[in-house]
Symmetry: C2
Subunit: 399 residues, 2 copies
Amino acid sequence: MPRISDRGFRMPASPIRKLAQYAEEAKQRGIDVLHLNIGQPDITTPKHAIDSIKNFSDPYISYSNSAGNLSLRKELVEYYKTNDIDISHKDILITTGGSEAICFAYYSILNYGDEVIVPEPFYSNYYGFTTETGARMIPVRSTIENGFALPEIEEFEKVLTPRTKAIMLCNPNNPTGYVYSRHELERIRDIVLENDLFLICDEVYREFCYDNDHYSVMNLSGIEDNVILVDSFSKRYNVCGIRIGALISRNKEVISTSLKFAQARLSPPSLGQIVAEALLKTPQEYLDKAFEEYKSRRDFVIHELNTIKGVYSPIPKGAFYSIVELPVDNAEKFCQWLLEEFEYKGTTVMLAPGNGFYTGKKLGERQVRLAYVLNKEKLALAVECLKKALEIYPGNLLK
Amino acid sequence: MPRISDRGFRMPASPIRKLAQYAEEAKQRGIDVLHLNIGQPDITTPKHAIDSIKNFSDPYISYSNSAGNLSLRKELVEYYKTNDIDISHKDILITTGGSEAICFAYYSILNYGDEVIVPEPFYSNYYGFTTETGARMIPVRSTIENGFALPEIEEFEKVLTPRTKAIMLCNPNNPTGYVYSRHELERIRDIVLENDLFLICDEVYREFCYDNDHYSVMNLSGIEDNVILVDSFSKRYNVCGIRIGALISRNKEVISTSLKFAQARLSPPSLGQIVAEALLKTPQEYLDKAFEEYKSRRDFVIHELNTIKGVYSPIPKGAFYSIVELPVDNAEKFCQWLLEEFEYKGTTVMLAPGNGFYTGKKLGERQVRLAYVLNKEKLALAVECLKKALEIYPGNLLK
């Protein structure tokens, strides 16, 4: 039997999805699983956008332009304008989710063995996409003690090598919920400029900054040609399944190169683009309401978690995740145990083990990523479950 | 400004789409462009499948399972059963078009610098995906004189190296329309077995074999663990825009490895999967009718083309493409000239230059790929245009 590729071996299973089978089995035993492992919220999608596909009247469902529908790209320019980002539709490629935007960016700028510096913990799939590309992800550590603020710029400088090609950020951050300030981003700008790097920033949670305004990397002056923005409709309007995102850059070579990768895969999903274009006509109240809902969930769940003995979560400033430290021997074992051996009131909780958000296996060993994507009633039950579970979990370190 | 990656430089622009801008400009001048460059047919999609999205009633559009909806995978098992292919739903991953299935296969089996042998001319995006993966595509030539039959097995043996990892076929073939016989495939089976290679086969045009039955690589005995099937709904039901395909293998390691890449990109499009599942309930008459339509278009257009002085097309046995030899100095120049400088009855024709379907630039220099995806009335006009165009084209070699 021929061998699987090295990259196939090295490719990590998603920490967010790898316990799915145990959750499935728990459900088959009649247990209600509260999914706090994955950023799949319960907020209703704007109805007019779902209705937009009901009006589909073409005789067949055709390819779109490889760069995405022109009308959608033009509408997006207006969306960015209201977010103080000034770009042309020629700077935009519509992608199959934010995921594909990251892949196109990586293929377009990274040679085999090139290095991308990413603050750790990081969105686990960045590591997957780097592996896919044959490049190397170089972590710089942010710490729970420091609320996952941007690591000191010296930490970036320490890991710079001749192979360093880019810095990748996620702002607001998944999985930490940290929101980088303009000041922090300007420090990144300086190092990008000085070392002629690309700066890729994933801003899919832009609207969900609870304590301060969002500052986009697109507004950092002096590195216009270095910046690649990754975006997505998925979280903003709870349409994860339409698989529509965008790669944005003022660097024309990045766009023309990415377009070649886009042409090879023919086109982004046509039905999703119809929904996406309708979404851009959503009244501001929708996002205001979603913002308030997530903020009040955050306030509630983080407070509750921090009342449990041995549990600690910093206060996430954005997105809808938090990295939570638990008093357990091994968080992955604990997460699996929750699904395989625990129930409370016919319910259990699914969490994403923290180690998948770090490169070193030991790091994040006692941490989980929690997504506050369910309503407060369910979050209250989830916290109650977690408290009961920790009381009886054999590997609780406080025992 | 930081440098684009080497693979970004090397990545070919799609020969099918790279002249799109000239077509756009022709349309802006009021010229009707007959698109025979791209496999985007005009056949109506089954109405019940389009209606299936109109019944969408979930409050939001969520991710699906990374492997695709279980119900869709189970329905696909039945589809394959009626096509004499016996597999389990566990052998299937739903992908974002056949394109993504090819990428997952490549990532899962190819190391940087590994080689994939592909009969030439080939579907141009195979070359793109190989470049994306950092692998090398090694062509073996099939010739127009031989109707693009499978090259002699000695030709494959000649290019085998320690880095050869796979053979890739497309059957029925895009761009040539050739259909590999069981006998030809068994010769491939032997070389695959002897050299412990993977065999990837793209069978998205399975239903469109006009002269003989289709024989699937999934039925080659003795290489069950070596075979990876690429499939797609796009052409079968004219739903190119839903972006739903499949990667199929009985090799559990290929599936589990590809699933890790699938998890990284989260999920295939949810709306497209709804349409796909409805499509599998389409009565057989739909495909019978599409078959008859394409067959009669083939008979018509190939006959007509071969009446033009200096033009030659073999008779394609399947799919809806043909590689056509033209009496021109350079087919790419001619294709561009058709869009920029020619019109007849307010109309012109867009074709895909042949050189993009070969690795060597000189090969295919006088060839184009023509897709007979329009109705016979339009095909007649297209042939008339082509005839008139060749009469006045300055680079006609017969002059």
